[in-house]
Symmetry: C2
Amino acid sequence: MTEKDDFTLQDFLPYLLNRAAEESSLEFQQHYKNRYGMLRNEWRVLFHLGNYGRMTATEIGQRAKIHKTKISRAVAKLAERRFVVRNRDEQDRRAEHLELTPQGEAAYRDLREQAAIYDCQLASRLSEGESEALRHMLRKLAGIDQ
Amino acid sequence: MTEKDDFTLQDFLPYLLNRAAEESSLEFQQHYKNRYGMLRNEWRVLFHLGNYGRMTATEIGQRAKIHKTKISRAVAKLAERRFVVRNRDEQDRRAEHLELTPQGEAAYRDLREQAAIYDCQLASRLSEGESEALRHMLRKLAGIDQ
DNA sequence: CGGTAATAGTTGATTTTGTAACTAACAAGG
DNA sequence: CCTTGTTAGTTACAAAATCAACTATTACCG
């Protein structure tokens, strides 16, 4: 009874998760936004391609849990700006394989570097060892198998 | 050197935070969306008013870090549906104090109950004691003073 | 006072997202 | 083959977020 009655907003996990996610997203977006004029979904697609290599839009969607319309638009923008090239699969002509151009690779490496730095900054707000525990918990909550 | 070279997307805190936040938001929105036809910002404003009591739009914005245009539109909807009443401050006639109607109170109590239940469900995906550590870390990352 | 700046909140224009419907290509069963 | 169903990706339209400009009121300061 008391357990539910003293439940407050400040303790609500989805609220805290959203606040922390929004805070960090907003801080980090300056890198891909200011330096490359990218939107969040474009950055995510770029990062996935850089991280996992050549794959199709559907595969990105499954891994990143991004809806296919978002990916379609992000890929269109990235292709237009020559960060990504599309290659139609000759076996299955519906699908197309995406991969980074050298220019896309360069942007990816630069942004990954920034991401690593920012990640360290964030982790430094936590105590020793906490950040690994946090990543582990977030993966569980996000339903990422690992 | 190796530290930055083996940095991957799956470990990037903003990415994990966003995935976990999105997952939990989507799951929880069914409650305020299906039962009360509310949007996320409306739910947030309602929850803030229920939790902290009478306050102005600006105060909600500062606490919740929601932009004033979002609050303005959320309050308009909540007032229209008689969940909230607006009272102009007679000392400072620019400001208006917002508070829940009895109907708003009822919705708040119902949703807070659902939130408490959902929060337990989420926490149950973690090990004993982890969830309190998680809340603590998220507050630090979100910049919530406490 | 009178003018300029600041604040509370709203509105409108533009951009981005979400949802559904769509095209094109393949697959499987008769 | 041909119908039906499924999958990859795009497009169209509605909903929502963002950003700037706006009104109304108060505060500051010469």
